[in-house]
């Protein structure tokens, strides 16, 4: 990982050929941070993984730096098993203090997912939950309420879940840290954004700067998502397993 301020200084040396920083430094820094965020949205390889505790009301609080999720699952036998998405899970009600309390439900209305024809007269589960639809998941299901800041779970017995998600860029000890393969793309982004509205640069220069940034971005995305020969062979073999000779 590289520090963003190092990249700015490299930009001064390599692109501007200067031997000292000047008053444009904060401008370049601001552009670089925007560029880092921009690239972060497209690079699925840069994800954060956290283990979160399930609350008593079957919800999990989203991290503050959450943008979008890659996977939600539970750890089972040392591996992560995904939960299933169920967009029919209802939003929870909040009490006067703003805390999530229970499910907003109207017992008189037909609530999807709670058609109760699955219990016999003596209270035994007959196994038929009609109306839920296909694609159920034995580990449980979830629905994300980003505005409210939580994940609602259903039929999930685990007390912890694993969230693999795209996060906002955060500073470590006051510094933004940058993946090595993003360095060139950020330098190109700084130049592209810096000259974008300048009258002293022609349309050709601006276009070239944009093209260069897009090229560098593509390269960074490729570098971030490439996989090794071993990984390829594993994927290939698992798909073409020969049947045993009898």
């Amino acid at each position: 990982m590289r520090k963003l301020e190092e990249i700015i200084r490299e930009f001064y040396i390599e692109d501007l050929h200067l031997s000292q920083t000047d008053e444009r430094y904060p401008v370049f820094l601001q552009i670089a941070i925007t560029g880092l965020k921009e690239l972060n949205y497209d690079l699925k390889s840069i994800v954060t993984e956290v283990t979160l505790t399930v609350n008593d009301n079957d919800t999990v609080d989203l991290p503050n730096n959450y943008i979008d999720y890659m996977m939600i699952g539970v750890v089972s036998g040392g591996t992560i098993s995904s939960l299933g998405l169920n967009t029919q899970i209802a939003n929870k009600a909040k009490d006067n203090c703003g805390n999530i309390s229970g499910v907003i439900s109207d017992p008189t209305s037909a609530d999807v997912g709670s058609f109760s024809s699955s219990y016999s007269d003596d209270g035994q589960d007959t196994g038929g939950d009609f109306g839920i639809g296909g694609g159920g998941n034995s580990n449980g299901t979830y629905n994300i309420f980003k505005q409210e800041g939580y994940i609602a779970l259903q039929n999930c017995s685990a007390d912890k879940i694993v969230l693999r998600y795209l996060s906002t860029i955060e500073q470590v000890d006051g510094n933004f840290l940058v993946e090595e393969f993003l360095v060139d793309a950020i330098k190109s982004f700084i130049w592209h954004r810096y000259i974008r509205r300048m009258r002293s640069y022609g349309g050709g220069d601006k276009q070239m700067a944009e093209i260069e940034f897009n090229r560098k971005k593509k390269m960074a995305v490729k570098r971030g998502s490439r996989f090794s020969i071993t990984e390829f062979m594993n994927a290939y073999r698992s798909g073409y397993r020969s049947s045993p000779n009898i």
Partner: protein
């Protein structure tokens, strides 16, 4: 070439006397003119250097001034008194370095930085201290009671206010010739104007 301000003024003064023997020019006036003309030459050379994609000021024009006390204006507002007037060069390159003896120098930021960048991620300057010119002061941003030094050093272009007339200064030879020529031409032109001429029909 190592010289002093008084030596340059003396050289120009000698040339002026050779031209007009009755001329009386104060050397302090010549030195002031030398300052001004040097500033013009440095600025012009900076713009000329843009033609070769350099945008640099010759390193020999920068002079370090050490041990300037850091003062406190109000809570988390620290500043120093500028030790000398500086030139107005683009992007603040007239000041090459502000900082302490150790570590990296502070970051130059534009005046108005603290308001425009307030609340943005870039406002912290990645944990570095920024500085900007404000009148006769040099203000610091991101400086607080935990990271403020007692004194700072500053390296700036031609700080004549902090240099004595007999302090050694290094002026490139070609610039020295140019400065002598410029000041000389300027003064000779002025001295050649007859000052006691009265338009009364009688020859002087």
């Amino acid at each position: 070439m190592l010289t002093t301000q008084s030596k340059i003024a003396e050289q120009i003064s000698l040339r002026i006397r050779q031209q007009t023997s009755d001329a009386a020019v104060d050397e302090r006036e010549l030195m002031l003119s030398v300052h001004q003309k040097l500033g013009i030459i440095v600025r012009n050379r900076l713009y000329e250097s843009k033609g070769i994609e350099s945008q640099e000021v010759d390193g020999s024009f920068y002079y370090p001034i050490e041990g300037i006390p850091v003062l406190k204006k109000s809570k988390n507002k620290y500043y120093i008194k500028m030790p000398s007037t500086s030139m107005s060069l683009p992007f603040g390159v007239d000041i090459k370095r502000v900082g302490t003896d150790e570590g990296m120098g502070f970051i130059p930021v534009p005046n108005g930085f603290s308001d425009l960048y307030a609340g943005l991620d870039s406002a912290s300057l990645e944990g570095q201290i920024g500085y900007y010119k404000s009148g006769v002061n040099l203000m610091f941003s991101n400086m607080n009671s935990t990271n403020n030094p007692t004194t700072v050093n500053i390296e700036m272009v031609l700080p004549f206010g902090a240099l004595d007339e007999d302090d050694e200064i290094s002026i490139p030879t070609d610039v020295l010739a140019e400065i002598v020529e410029l000041v000389f031409t300027d003064f000779v032109r002025t001295l050649q104007i007859p000052v006691d001429e009265v338009n009364n029909g009688i020859d002087n």
